[in-house]
């Protein structure tokens, strides 16, 4: 049943929140498709050593630039490294960076947004102007600026991307907090003597969370895309470590003869980003309070 159809049916009996959540979440084909893609990539990342047919870094000049075939399903690159194996190992870098950046960025961003939204007045003004300032830079330029200051390496890429993602979380969280804090239960909590910290952590944060979960899911995709962009430019994680971004870039030289070298990793980036976006969309529908108790 589509969401709209469900909305229209009145007098339907109330069902448990969890069942309703799953029902709405899995009601759309693309969301299920997204979940399957994400699961496949997670499996690929965890079991890479067993799934990859070859060592991703093993140089074999006798088998350089092979076309896709039986021995090498996606062919080999200029150094004879197996493209399929490198793409599978690339999953690890992308997912790890995506996950760590989302955790770091959202913790810092949500804390800033929580403080700004809860205390209001000048605290709000100061924090949000700083956030506005960071938002004035295109995300990639901000990441580039910070990566250039910190230098290369996976840790610095994580730092740069986390920093670049903070403003988005802070802004959303701040808006959420400002709405939620107007509720009577917050006032009730205060009048019973709950501290600011308790109100913020126990009452505000959980009630502000649904849209942030949606955002975090979509940001996983955005982060993976940004990381791929940085390593495509040669500024992110350095070779010989296989990342999808630097594979696309390396393959560019052999575009005429071996287009698969760029196509395969790029397709992986697109699939995983698309999947996170669709799952985010599904979460948004499933967490929509308007539908609560209806389906």
């Amino acid at each position: 049943m589509s969401i709209e159809a469900a909305l229209r049916t009145e007098n339907t009996p109330r069902v448990s929140e969890l069942r309703r959540f799953f029902k709405v979440f899995f009601s759309r084909g693309v969301v299920v498709f997204g979940m399957i893609i994400i699961l496949l990539f997670i499996i690929a990342a965890i079991f890479a050593p067993w799934l990859a047919p070859y060592d991703p870094d093993k140089i074999d000049m006798n088998n350089a630039l092979l076309q896709p075939g039986k021995a090498h399903w996606l062919g080999t690159d200029a150094l004879g490294r197996d493209t399929l194996s490198r793409t599978i190992y690339g999953t690890q870098i992308s997912l790890i960076i995506g996950l760590v950046v989302v955790v770091l960025g959202s913790i810092v961003g949500m804390t800033l947004g929580l403080i700004a939204g809860y205390f209001g007045s000048w605290t709000h003004a100061v924090i949000m102007r700083v956030i506005d300032t960071l938002m004035a830079f295109p995300m990639l330029i901000l990441a580039l600026l910070i990566a250039s200051l910190l230098g290369e390496g996976i840790r610095n890429v994580i730092m740069a991307l986390s920093f670049a993602m903070v403003p988005a979380y802070a802004r959303l969280m701040c808006g959420q907090v400002m709405t939620v804090k107007e509720n009577d239960y917050i006032l009730a909590g205060r009048s019973m003597g709950a501290s600011h910290t308790r109100i913020m952590l126990r009452h505000l944060t959980p009630n502000c969370f649904p849209p942030l979960i949606v955002m975090m899911t979509m940001m996983l995709g955005t982060t993976i895309l940004a990381e791929a962009g940085l390593s495509f430019l040669g500024i992110g994680v350095q070779p010989p470590v296989a990342t999808w971004g630097n594979m696309v870039n390396d393959g560019r030289q052999y575009l005429l003869t071996n287009p698969i070298l760029s196509f395969a990793p790029g397709l992986a980036i697109m699939l995983v980003v698309y999947a996170f976006n669709m799952v985010g969309d599904g979460l948004r529908d499933a967490l929509d309070p308007q539908l609560r108790g209806v389906i």
Partner: protein, 318 residues
């Protein structure tokens, strides 16, 4: 209205000030001594402490941080963005050479995004659930997720290497060779526009759907107006308001995308300069580009805010 504009102007001024402070601090927080970097770049073999102090004084680096900021920002206002570490040429000259190229491509991409994205979204909303809607929505979802640098490479493979319809890469000024220039910018402009096209289409669709459900639209239908009149005269005005906000954000997407796309298509704009400068550790350029891009985004946001107030009389001007 005037108070609203003044308020927005003040906010923009504050953000611009903070942007300049951020860029300035980023420059000073460099790992390593800028003077040493400068000296070693000029291949001085042995540097005594006295020489170092002298150079430091010469660059004003012995002053307090706020004073250094004042020195730097007055320089910026006079058009002095410092000198390249690599070749000692004034940064401003190179930046001014490259701004028109990035701006040209960016503005074209913005126009393309608007004239394709918005009508596509509106059409989807009107024909909701049709195959056209499903098709365009799927394309839009792919459009916001595709890595633009990869899309560029695919386009090069298909249209330049395979069919040989378009040149592989490069940039020619439209004043030098108009047709070659047009051929060269088709692919980069499309790549830059893909994200904003998809974003506009999605936003236009969802906000139009929101509006179409309203009572006043039902009233318009029941008056017996034609579909054309209902959509064009009643629904569009309210439906496109959120799209205006979003298209302002598209400027950031386009400028960020320029970094990647100029690299893919070998276009000598600001984005490519940013990448080569990061590679060469030529920080003055990186900072100048970050500053220029942030300023253009602050101004485009200001423009959006003001046009919003002008388009929607309900916006509070206090």
């Amino acid at each position: 209205m005037t108070t609203y504009i003044i308020r927005r102007l003040i906010l923009a001024a504050i953000v611009l000030f903070l942007v300049s402070v951020f860029v300035f601090l980023a420059m000073r927080l460099l790992p390593g001594d800028p003077v040493l970097m400068y000296m070693s770049a000029s291949s001085v073999q042995e540097i005594t402490d006295e020489q170092l102090a002298q150079v430091r004084h010469q660059f004003g680096l012995d002053k307090t941080l706020p004073m250094q900021y004042v020195d730097w920002i007055t320089g910026v206002f006079r058009g002095d963005l410092g000198k390249s570490i690599l070749n000692r040429s004034p940064v401003i000259d190179e930046i001014l050479r490259r701004i028109p190229i990035t701006a040209y491509l960016g503005i074209l991409a913005f126009i393309v995004a608007t004239i394709i994205g918005i009508p596509a979204g509106v059409l989807c909303a009107i024909r909701r659930g049709s195959w056209l809607d499903n098709f365009v929505t799927t394309l839009a979802n792919i459009g916001i997720t595709v890595p633009v640098f990869w899309l560029g490479i695919i386009l090069i493979y298909v249209f330049a290497l395979h069919f040989r319809w378009l040149p592989v890469m490069g940039y020619t000024s439209p004043f030098d060779d108009f047709w070659l220039s047009i051929k060269q910018i088709i692919m980069p402009v499309f790549c830059l526009a893909v994200g904003p096209i998809a974003g506009n289409a999605r936003q236009a669709r969802s906000s139009m759907l929101e509006v179409i459900r309203r009572d006043y639209i039902r009233t318009a239908w029941s008056k017996g107006l034609t579909e054309r009149a209902v959509i064009m005269k009643h629904a569009l005005k309210n439906g496109l308001m959120p799209v205006v906000t979003l298209s302002g954000m598209g400027v950031g997407t386009i400028l960020g995308g320029a970094v990647l796309i100029e690299q893919v298509f070998n276009i000598p704009g600001m984005g490519r300069l940013a990448v080569t400068s990061v590679m060469n550790q030529d920080y003055p350029y990186v900072q100048a580009i970050a500053l220029v891009m942030a300023i253009s985004i602050v101004f485009s946001n200001l423009l959006v805010d003001i046009s919003y107030g002008w388009l929607d009389p309900r916006v509070h001007y206090d």
